[in-house]
């Protein structure tokens, strides 16, 4: 019995000691963990909602196909609808293009470095995406999230929300289009000057390779119009 008691006390003491050294003794950790739990719960909810939406969109597609078979006029509209879905990013797409990789560089641990320029920021991703559009990209994704006409880049500290999906570094921006044109646009010293300079200063990763075939997923978020009405 004495041995059990001594072992228990020793184990408890060691555990307490290790815990004390691993976790700061303030309620900051508890607060952070509560916030992290909330964010994780929201991400899970959103993932489940995206799953529901995907199933409903499949049902809509099947019903559209049925309706399209009813008349020549309906078939023509269904084909136009399918084409528009392709153009709007609502279907998966493949083709040649470019893959751009971005990853955080090295923290110089200098007091003067308050802007955290060694990190990839949401504006960097936005700039790369914009550059790919300017070079004729037909479809773009960031960490497998399609950029569609309604997409917004939302800053969350050093992370990014794209289409409401939480993305973190390292990032891969994929673009479908003319790979050699993408390559020359990205190589042009006049483009992405800030990112390239930070890449040299902090070893922030900025690399790209042309690809013979890239697979980009369909947009899986909300695509609802409630207020804008097409003018007659």
């Amino acid at each position: 019995m004495t041995i059990v008691l001594v072992t228990f006390l020793m184990a408890a003491a060691v555990t307490a000691q290790l815990k004390a050294s691993a976790i700061p003794t303030s309620n900051k950790v508890a607060r952070n963990q509560a916030l992290v739990s909330s964010a994780q719960a929201l991400e899970q909810d959103n993932q489940a909602l995206r799953g529901d939406l995907a199933a409903l969109n499949r049902a809509v597609r099947e019903l559209n196909s049925k309706l399209g078979d009813r008349s020549g006029q309906a078939k023509a509209v269904e084909n136009a609808l399918r084409d528009q879905k392709n153009r709007s990013g609502l279907t998966a797409v493949s083709g040649p293009g470019i893959a751009v990789q971005l990853a955080n560089g090295n923290d110089p641990h200098a007091a003067a470095e308050t802007k955290r320029d060694w990190e990839v920021k949401y504006v960097d991703i936005q700039d790369v995406v914009n550059l790919l559009w300017s070079a004729g990209a037909e479809a773009v994704s960031v960490n497998h999230q399609r950029v569609v006409p309604t997409s917004s880049f939302y800053v969350a500290g050093s992370d990014l929300l794209l289409n409401g999906v939480h993305l973190t570094a390292p990032y891969e921006v994929d673009g479908i289009g003319d790979g050699s044109r993408f390559n020359s646009t990205l190589s042009d010293g006049a483009n992405l000057p800030d990112l390239k300079s930070r890449s040299e200063l902090y070893q922030l990763k900025l690399t790209w390779q042309t690809q013979r075939t890239l697979q980009l997923p369909a947009y899986d978020g909300a695509a609802v119009v409630r207020y804008a009405v097409a003018a007659q």
Partner: protein, 225 residues
């Protein structure tokens, strides 16, 4: 030495092992949970986490609304399929919705107009349109140019360009969407720009966005299902 020769009752040994295992497990769970939190936080402070939660909540609301809308659409289309009517109209409505999203048709609806009297940089134009989309804008026009997330924002001779066309001050930014959300977004845009000159936000029950996006050829893409 005495201990080595001593025989412990099996129950005592089992209890001892159980305690050690349980303590070890609890400790591992605590440390792993902290490690997971640290990895997820990635050095983020509470303010950043707050922003993340706000963004994720907005997304949840949009996804939930979209699910309700899709459920209703399935019901409508099922009824349409059961009836003998010409289904072209039901399909045409969906097509028009996507054209609105894509920016290929002129639109109107409730919204607001932001006027900015001074010159903006390309990144400011980009940030402004991005912030409006985040605030639920369904259609945006800046000085007669339709703007979506696919618009190319650039700068030429010190002036911002949209899809290769120069846009210069004064800027008239028209956005259509949920009036409440849009107003909140527009006010924060205005607040961030006001230190540099005149910025005004005017809410309207019906505004027109007449411009459409330029045609984009599709050459390299193969579409799946």
């Amino acid at each position: 030495m005495q201990l080595n020769n001593r025989r412990f009752p099996p129950l005592q040994v089992a209890s001892l092992l159980l305690i050690v295992v349980v303590l070890g497990f609890l400790f591992a769970v605590q440390v792993r949970s902290q490690a997971t939190a640290d990895k997820y936080l990635g050095g983020q402070d509470n303010v950043s986490l707050g922003l993340l939660i706000t963004g994720l909540s907005q997304s949840r609301q949009q996804l939930s609304d979209a699910r309700t809308e899709a459920q209703q659409q399935v019901q409508r289309l099922t009824a349409e399929a059961a009836s003998g009517a010409n289904p072209a109209n039901a399909l045409q409505q969906q097509l028009v919705q996507l054209e609105v999203i894509d920016g290929t048709v002129p639109v109107h609806g409730p919204g607001l107009v932001i006027t900015v009297a001074f010159s903006l940089h390309d990144y400011e134009v980009q940030d402004m349109s991005n912030a409006l989309r985040q605030s639920g804008a369904e259609a945006i026009e800046i000085n007669g140019h339709r703007v979506t997330a696919r618009s190319v924002v650039g700068e030429k001779s010190g002036r911002a360009t949209l899809d290769g066309q120069q846009v210069q001050a004064p800027y008239r930014v028209t956005a259509i969407g949920d009036p409440v959300r849009l107003a909140a977004g527009a006010e924060s845009i205005a607040a961030s720009l006001k230190t540099r000159g005149d910025v005004a936000v005017l809410q309207q029950s019906d505004v027109k966005v007449a411009a459409t996006v330029p045609d984009r050829p599709v050459i390299y893409s193969s579409f799946g299902s």
